[in-house]
Each structure stands twice: as structure tokens, then as C-alpha cells.
């Protein structure tokens, strides 16, 4: 466990907000009636509560429409209601900058009055509104352009001279290319606020070379903006969220620096999500001073794989680690040999003789046979992969 001082300068304030939120949730929201009554002594105590997975959320929302009882008040008190693929239903509350994007925009250099070209879709999903809220809070006019239709994007650029692009990274490059082809002066675009897809260093360098300083942020439709680039290492965590990095398939926090799944608790009265597992991977940057930071988006944590027609899930590998004492990192490699699926477990363990016990337990838990190789602690890659599908 990390100490409270490692949790950044906001830890004390966040702990107070969290305890107030937990007390309110326990008293007013049926699904949280069983929350422990005692205040938490540390943000680390969150780890004792269950993780809320997307599949749980879908079930709760189906059983108790629209939000599974997880919102802090009636639907009539909300501002917008979304339908994301899955289907997942997400609310937007009425507070100013409800999704928390103003800090990300400010860190990217956006100033009050800057014109923003918002190329996210406004229909059904919240991405566009996440940035609308921040723009409104900062006093920035927005061109609600939506995705696609580059001809109209160029008309908007010519007439309104936006300084800021908001959207996915690739579409920014498409717009710059089309503008240059069509001879449209797009030098007004100086800042790109991008999210929703990977930003390779090569693309960032190209965009910078063309005059657009690109900053990334990370967020989800359920949580709003979780972290954003501010010029320091990786991304700094947003003030309204508490982030844990857990071993994929579990709710168990990994040590700082280790790659795992991002689990977020949102400090918000309208939609106080508790330990929401995002399915995305990252790592806390160990030893950073000041605010807590993550490395950014490091891929998806969905590692379930089908072996000989049966699902093998990260939760099963986590159960295996608990069943055989002395395990460190585990990594199940799935390959194909002789027209057959094949499982091979790489297990960090101090005792070379643990292989037999691990193989027996693996067969018991997965109902599938696999080979086991014990490796030295610290020798497996720090990439959050619990199941590596090599087929």
C-alpha cells in the first residue's frame, strides 16, 4: 500500500469529499445502502469496496431504468441524457463544466474568447458536450461542427478562424491536409485538444511542425475528463476524480509504476460513480512530485480469450494467483500449435517447484490444461497483460 502522502497534494481534500459523498450515497441511494458506515481513514481504503464493471452497470441500468439507481437525484434534475453503444446510459448534470474539461483546455493553452472547432459528434454520446461545458466555463465560442464533412469544416475555418481544434488526432491531420489542398488558410489553428484514439509521436511531431501544438486528455462517457497533459510527465489527474490502477480483472491496486486497469471514483453529487473500471490500462508515474500523474492511455484491459471454445478471463488468472501463495506477476500466453490452442503460463515465483501446483490449479480454475514455467520475480514485462493472446 502506498501512504497518503504519496497520493498527491489533493489527497486530504479528496478524502473529505469522498467521505461526505459516501455518507450521502449510503443514506439516499438504495444500491449503496450497504456501504460501510465508518468514514475512510485514507483514499487507500477504497480498495476494500467492490469494483463496478461496465457489465454490472449495463445490468443495473436494465433492471432499474434509466441509471440503475446510481444517480444522486431524479432524472428531472439532469441536463442531458445519453445513449452510448453497449448500451450504456450516461447522464449529464446541471453544474458548470460538469465533465471537467476546462482544466484540460486551460493546460493546453486555451484562453477565454478563443474560438473552438468541436469535431466530436453531438448525437447520443457525450464527447462533444464534455468540451462544450469547458468552453462555456472558459467563455470560448464553439463551432459545433461534428465529425466528417470536411468541406463544411473548411468553410467554418475560413469564416471563424478557430484557434483550437477539439476531436480525435487523425481527423485534425485530415483537416490540415484538406485545407492545404484547397488553399484554405488554416494557420489560425494553433492548439489541438485530442482524445479518443492513440496519438503516435510521429503524428504529434508532424502536427507540431504544421503549427498545431497538440495536447491529449483521457476521459470516458461515464466519468468525463480523468487526466490531461499539462507539459509535465504523462498526464496529471483531474481534481474531481480518484484514480486507482488495479490488476486487470480484479479490484486490487498494483504498486505505483505497474501497468494495470484504470479504476475511477468520481466525486460528483449527480453521478457519484464508485470504483468504475474503465477497461483502459495505464500506470501511476512513481515518484512524481506534486499532483498525481498517469502515463496516459496504454491500451485496453479487455483480455478475455477463447481457448478450445471456452473463455479464459483475467479474473481466473487473478484467482490462480490468490490460490497459490508466493506468486508475483502472472502471464498466460495463448498460442496455436498443431492446429490446436495451447496455454502456457509464465509465473513470477520465488520457488521453482511451484510449477506443478500452478499447473494443477490452472486446470482446476479454467478446466483447460496448460504448461507452466516459473520465472524470476520482476522478469515479466510491465505491460498489464495478464492474458497475452499470441494466435
Amino acid at each position: 500500500m502506498t501512504g497518503e502522502t504519496d497520493r498527491g497534494p489533493r489527497a486530504a481534500e479528496q478524502l473529505a469529499r469522498l467521505n461526505a459523498q459516501l455518507a450521502r450515497m449510503r443514506e439516499t441511494q438504495a444500491p449503496w445502502a450497504d456501504l460501510p458506515a465508518a468514514p475512510m481513514a485514507s483514499l487507500a481504503d477504497l480498495a476494500a469496496l467492490p469494483v463496478l464493471r461496465k457489465s454490472d452497470l449495463i445490468q443495473r441500468q436494465a433492471a432499474d431504468a434509466p441509471f440503475g439507481g446510481l444517480t444522486g437525484g431524479p432524472v428531472a434534475g439532469l441536463r442531458r441524457l445519453f445513449v452510448s453503444p453497449g448500451p450504456i446510459f450516461d447522464p449529464e448534470g446541471r453544474g458548470a463544466d460538469w465533465w471537467g474539461s476546462a482544466a484540460a483546455l486551460t493546460a493546453a493553452g486555451v484562453r477565454p474568447g478563443d474560438v473552438i472547432l468541436n469535431t466530436f459528434s453531438y448525437h447520443l454520446t457525450p464527447a462533444a458536450f464534455i468540451f462544450e461545458g469547458g468552453a462555456e466555463a472558459l467563455g470560448c465560442p464553439v463551432i459545433p461542427a461534428g465529425p466528417g464533412n470536411t468541406a463544411d469544416q473548411l468553410v467554418a475555418i475560413r469564416q471563424y478562424r478557430p484557434r483550437v481544434y477539439v476531436g480525435v488526432p487523425d481527423f485534425l491531420k485530415i483537416i490540415l491536409d484538406k485545407a492545404d489542398e484547397a488553399g484554405v488558410d488554416r494557420t489560425c489553428l494553433e492548439i489541438g485538444m485530442v482524445t479518443g484514439a492513440a496519438l503516435p509521436d510521429s503524428l504529434r511531431a508532424e502536427l507540431a511542425g504544421r503549427g498545431v501544438a497538440v495536447r491529449q486528455c483521457y476521459g470516458t462517457a461515464d466519468l468525463g475528463i480523468v487526466a490531461y497533459e499539462d507539459g509535465g510527465p504523462g498526464m496529471v489527474l483531474n481534481g474531481g476524480v480518484i484514480v486507482e490502477i488495479v490488476r486487470p480483472g480484479t479490484g486490487d491496486p498494483v504498486p505505483d509504476g505497474e501497468v494495470g486497469e484504470i479504476v475511477v471514483t468520481r466525486l460528483d453529487a449527480d453521478y457519484p460513480l464508485l470504483r468504475f473500471a474503465t477497461g483502459d490500462m495505464s500506470a501511476i508515474i512513481a515518484g512524481a512530485t506534486g499532483a498525481r500523474r498517469i502515463k496516459g492511455w496504454m491500451g485496453r484491459a479487455d483480455q478475455a480469450a477463447k481457448v478450445k471454445g471456452m473463455f479464459v478471463r483475467p479474473e481466473q488468472i487473478a484467482a490462480l494467483g490468490r490460490a497459490v501463495p508466493g506468486c508475483h506477476r502472472l502471464r498466460l500466453e495463448i498460442s496455436r500449435a498443431g492446429e490446436q490452442d495451447r496455454m502456457h503460463l509464465l509465473a513470477e515465483h520465488d520457488d521453482n517447484d511451484a510449477a506443478d501446483r500452478l499447473a494443477a490449479k490452472l486446470a482446476e480454475i479454467t478446466r483447460l490444461k496448460g504448461t507452466v514455467q516459473v520465472v524470476a520475480p520482476g522478469s515479466l514485462p510491465n505491460d498489464g497483460r495478464v492474458i497475452a493472446d499470441l494466435r
Copy 2:
């Protein structure tokens, strides 16, 4: 000319707001520096000012981006910036319910807290935001659904049970049909707030029979909501606009009851449009007590027609009427005979011998020959048609 008392109970307040606005425009906006300095004595005095046509607006916006100097302050003070086909550029200011839709929604029976399914597009054009503003002012949660994608519309209806539909009339019927086909309970939908297309009585009756009371409103991307149904005759005019009905192609008001083009002056500091010609036709309902009313949308006023390869425009027919004293309504019928275009002018005139003078003037103004028939004053249809293309 109608008297001030005929201009409804809001006339005195509107006149005061108009004079304050004209004074501000004259002092702060270069394009309006030539406005007469004396306050207007009556709303009828507006008729002395030039009409602003869409073509003028496009030219001004092209010459002086983005808004041709017609906004009341800098772009940085605006909330959203739109690109409508044409291209026309429209601003949204920061005021609450800036487009004036809350009154229309309230008159349709929408209450605070009602969930609204908004099926207008949010991208580039303002229709969806016109109703977002009213919903926000009323405290109604909005599903920003956008147009199309009926499968997702049904998911949203099932989960959020919206009471209010906002969009074009036809799409409401499509959604009800699809819901019934798919067995989705859509009885939550009780109110339809429709605009943007004609609503035939048959469609209104069908929708009412299926439980949805439909109310229409009339507005444009430049002006917001101009008028709306409130249960009284036709549509009642919105408080923030002054409406004139003019002979198509002119800025000359027609008597109450006569069909003509809708010209609107918006009382708004952010975008104080003065005598904006909408290109739509309607008529003031004569003799209605209380607030001033129009008959609703009665088609488009764009009546330019090509005859033998040359354009004939309503402005030319208006010039003809001014050139030959004693004219009442004029109607140029264009037909096809012997593989040739043919022009025939029907002219309300007290003097049967005016036909020759009218024919000579018609040829002079249009550079095309046409026949003329003098008819009795009041005998031409009251439909606003100055040019009737019968080909």
C-alpha cells in the same frame, strides 16, 4: 397603414426596446451608422428602413467575416458559431434561452422536468440548439438524439421515457411507426413540438389519434423562434421579434390579412437583425384580439422564374406596380405554349384601359413581351403569389 393599437398589447414595450436598440446600433455598429437619429413614433415607421435579404447578408458576411459587422459585440462574447447552407453564418449569444423557444415549449404544454427527445441535428446548424436553450431555461433534461438512426431513438425512448418530441413532423410519425413495429412502448410521448416542414391536417390528426398532441412553431436559423401555436388561431408572435408582412420582393407592408413575405426585426443586443426578409410567406390574422398572430407558414416567397432564359423577379413586378399608378394586386402567370415560354399579367386596376400601359412597362422592365389582362380589384387570390410559374 395599421394603427399602433392594432399592433398588439406589446407594441409600446417593443417600440421602446426597438428605439433603444436602434440608438445602440447607430453608435456602435458601422453598417448602421446611417440609421435615422430620431426615435420612431410607431412600429410602422420600420417600413421606412431597407429590408435585409439573404443575398445581402451573404455579401456582407463575405466582405467582413464572420458576421458582416451586424453583431452587437466581438465574436469572443458569443456562445456558438454556425454554418448554414448558402452559406449563411449565424451566431448564438450567451443569454438564457437566447433563441426564444421556452415560450413555444410552454405553450405546447411542456413542464419543467419533462424529458425532451431532440431529433434536430446539432451539427453546424442551430435547430437543435434553439430548443436546447428553451429546455435549459425550463429545466427539462434533453436527449440529444439528432436525426436518423431510429434504432437508437427507440433505445432512448425505452430507457428515458421522453414526454416531448422535438423535430420535423414526418420523423415523429416514422418513430411511432418503428416503435409499434418493434413493440416498443412509446406511450410516454405525449407532446410533439414540430417545425421545419409542413404539417398537413391529416398528419396532425393521425398523431393526435396516437396520443401525441402536436404543436407547430415557426423560426429561422437567423432569428430563432418567431411564432408558435398556443391553442388560439394560427400562431402567436414571440415577444422578442417585430413581424411585418410585405409584398414579396419589396419592403412594403401589406394590409393585415393579406399574404406576403415575413420580415422580422429581432430585439436582441447580440444580433439585432433589422427587417430581415425570411423568404417565407404568411399573413397577419386581422382583427384578432390580444397578441398579434400570423396564419403560420404558407410556403416560400422565392418566386423568381426563368422566362426565355432570362430571370423575372418579384422586385420587377413591384417596380411595375409603382410605375403604373392605380395598381392593386399583380400576378404574372408564366406558361408554355407552342414550345415557347409565355407571360400573362393579371392586374387588379380600376381602369380597364390600363392594359396597354402595363404591357409597355412590363416589356421595358423585364425586356420580355407579355399579354396583360385587367381584372377587378380584390379578384386575385390572396396567396402572396406575384409570379406564378404554371409550366
